[in-house]
């Protein structure tokens, strides 16, 4: 299927009839879906079942053995927004429209080449049909999240070292330590950070680190119905991400800034920033 034929609206089988769906119920649904999908995806991931179930997994976890990243296949994303909802539920992100660890953008490019981008409520409720005035040439969804940059400007600027890179390649914030100066939010070129309204510290995607150490994949990866998000090791290991990177031309966002992102996009359009 070429991109031109892709549906320009949220698919008809979207379980949520209106954007005004009861959020609470939806989160419950999402969690259920997440629970149901879990074993399946794990099987696909070929993670040893033992690792997934090991209750004392954390003790045996060695961060030096891993280097995580994420792949995103833009052609597969249908803009359902389940990842956004799952992330908010999993990571206790405020349910308003201004704080997101991950969000989904919709690009609509019309016949004149004019680009319209939107992300209503971060894509949490899916997308209403585009208000296109002229013919749509192509349209696609782009999930965004922290790129867990290998050369992260956010870590560089933090005055106290509250933001740091883990040995397994995840960029985290120590909320017991952050003084709330928000320099890191300014320094992130991707708008991936936000300021926690009640904890008064910087917050961001953790790649669900609490799940990783148990051998689980991030919540957004787990709930994605189309497998648009691919999680795994960046360096040659037999993981889905390695295969994804072998099989696709992958690109990163804003490469000229030399942040060296570890979120890799396949089929990325030049309009995406």
């Amino acid at each position: 299927m070429t991109r031109d034929e892709e549906p320009s609206v949220a698919p008809a089988d979207d379980p949520r009839p209106t954007p005004a769906v009861d959020r609470r119920r939806f989160v419950e649904d999402a969690l259920k879906a997440c629970a149901a999908g879990c074993p399946l995806i794990l099987a696909v991931m070929r993670l040893p079942a033992a690792a997934a179930q090991r209750p004392a997994g954390e003790a045996a976890y060695d961060p030096a053995e891993h280097l995580y990243g994420m792949g995103i296949d833009i052609q597969k994303c249908i803009g359902c927004g389940r990842c956004v909802a799952a992330c908010k539920a999993e990571n206790d992100v405020p349910l308003d429209g201004y704080h997101f660890n991950t969000w989904v953008e919709r690009y609509v490019i019309d016949e004149d080449g004019d680009v319209t981008v939107d992300s209503p409520n971060g894509g949490f409720d899916g997308f209403p049909p585009p208000a296109a005035e002229s013919e749509i040439r192509r349209t696609f969804f782009v999930p965004k999240l922290c790129n867990h940059c290998a050369n992260p400007p956010c870590v560089q600027v933090c005055p106290v070292g509250a933001t740091f890179s883990t040995p397994d390649g995840v960029v985290l914030v120590d909320e017991q330590y952050c003084i709330g100066c928000r320099y890191c939010i300014q320094a992130c070129p991707y708008g991936a950070r936000w300021f926690h309204p009640t904890k008064h510290v910087a917050a961001k995607c953790t790649l669900c680190y609490h799940r990783l150490v148990k051998g689980l994949v991030p919540a957004c990866v787990e709930v994605c119905p189309t497998g648009a998000r691919i999680f795994g090791e960046v360096e040659q290991r037999p993981t889905p991400l390695a295969r994804f990177m072998r099989m696709n031309d992958v690109q990163v966002l804003k490469p000229h800034l030399n942040t060296r992102p570890k979120v890799y996009y396949a089929n990325l359009d030049g309009e995406v920033r």
């Binding site: 106290v160 330590y177 003084i179 709330g180 939010i185 300014q186 904890k199």
Partner: protein, 395 residues
């Protein structure tokens, strides 16, 4: 809001308080550099403002960290900047640059400058004032010739160290913004230099205003030679400052990077009042014109005008300059957050009235240095009060 902005960008992170911070540090650096002119380059004309400039710098420096502190999400953890600074962070160095400047440069210089007077005041005063001055001398009450010479030499050396320190203090504030590569409005090597020269401009203007206003209240005559000199310095500094900003502007236009569209949109809409009207026209062109015509900076002044008229024009220009420099800080700090890093949209900033980061706090923080300065001037009068001292000197 207009166009597309990342959802996390709806909230502006750095508010009015962060506009205040570079504004205040700029005044500190500027006032100090003005004082240094007299000391190191022996510009006799501005001598009447020397001590006033030092005290002004101190008063503002004491307030400088407050807006930062008030802005933090966890102010109670701010000491971590000293204990565990991240050496790669530009901001982490703030504490050290600040401490160096406050203690090694300003306090020491003021102390050496005032030591002789403090000893004399201690001898003259009675009651608690006597103990206050005695305490301030730190017990160094020797007024012999060699020790006074030493004061002078020490003061001079500290000034020599102080000038690069003042450059460091404010250039560094510019670096905090200029080094953010994620933000095309901030990211520029010129930023520290532009900050520095605008700081010098604001410092000179402030001392000029204070000098005129204080003289008025003390009903003492204003030394017009001093004022003319200040006005000329102000003019020269503004010329350099404007040239640098023009260079930055032309460079951006000429390079025309991908951000140029959204930035021009921002200037035409969101920043029109603060950048074009306040910063450029009111804060730069008008005062430049007046100073160029009336101050002796160009050719002994194109039009001379009476002392009275010049005083008024200088005062008005200096006030306009202060408004202009505040707008510069606003345009940098707030402007840098009004456009999305997706380069696809603009957001808005509404100043809140009350609240910790609101207008009220800002006004209080802006007034505070003047209160401190008032106390400082009471304790350490920056002008020669000949009567009592001369009597003592004669003893």
């Amino acid at each position: 809001m207009q166009g597309y902005i990342y959802p996390n960008e709806f909230e502006l992170q750095w508010s009015l308080l962060i506009v205040l911070y570079p504004y205040i540090t700029g005044l500190v650096a500027g006032a100090f550099i003005l004082a240094s002119l007299e000391r190191v380059f022996n510009v006799k004309e501005v001598q009447p403002t020397y001590r006033l400039a030092l005290l002004t710098a101190l008063a503002f420096l004491l307030v400088a960290p407050l807006p930062l502190q008030a802005h933090l999400g966890h102010p109670e953890r701010s000491y971590e900047i000293f204990l565990t600074p991240n050496r790669k962070s530009a901001m982490a160095m703030f504490g050290f640059v600040y401490a160096w400047y406050l203690t090694v440069v300003l306090l020491l210089e003021i102390w050496f400058e005032y030591r002789k007077d403090m000893v004399l005041w201690a001898r003259e005063a009675v009651g608690w004032r006597r103990w206050l001055y005695y305490g301030l001398t730190l017990g160094a009450t020797d007024l012999s010739d060699p020790s006074l010479k030493f004061d002078d030499a020490a003061g001079r050396w500290i000034t020599v160290i102080g000038i690069p320190s003042a450059f460091l203090l404010h250039g560094y504030v510019g670096f905090i913004f200029g080094s953010v590569k994620a933000n095309p409005w901030w990211s520029s090597v010129l930023m520290p230099v532009v900050f520095l020269f605008s700081a010098i401009v604001s410092g000179i203007a402030l001392v000029l205003i204070l000098y005129v206003v204080i003289s008025l209240f003390r009903s003492r005559p204003v030394d017009m030679r001093c004022l003319d000199k200040l006005a000329s310095f102000l003019f020269y500094a503004m010329i350099v400052d404007v040239s640098l900003e023009m260079l930055d502007f032309v460079h951006r236009l000429y390079e025309s990077e991908e951000s140029i569209d959204i930035l021009s949109q921002m200037i035409e809409s969101r920043l029109f009042i603060s950048l074009i009207v306040l910063q450029l026209v009111l804060g730069t062109l008008i005062p430049l014109g007046f100073l160029g015509v009336f101050s002796p900076a160009l050719h002994r002044g194109l039009a001379r005008g009476s002392d009275e008229l010049r005083r008024l024009i200088y005062l008005m220009s200096a006030v306009l300059v202060e408004i202009g420099i505040f707008s510069i800080r606003w345009n940098v700090v707030i402007g840098g957050q009004l456009f999305s890093k997706s380069l696809r949209g603009l957001t808005v900033y509404k100043v809140e009235l009350l609240g910790l980061e609101g207008l009220a706090t800002t006004l209080v923080l802006l007034a505070l240095p003047f209160v401190i300065l008032w106390v400082l001037v009471k304790v350490l009068p920056p002008w020669e009060e000949p009567a009592g001292l001369r009597r003592l000197d004669g003893v």
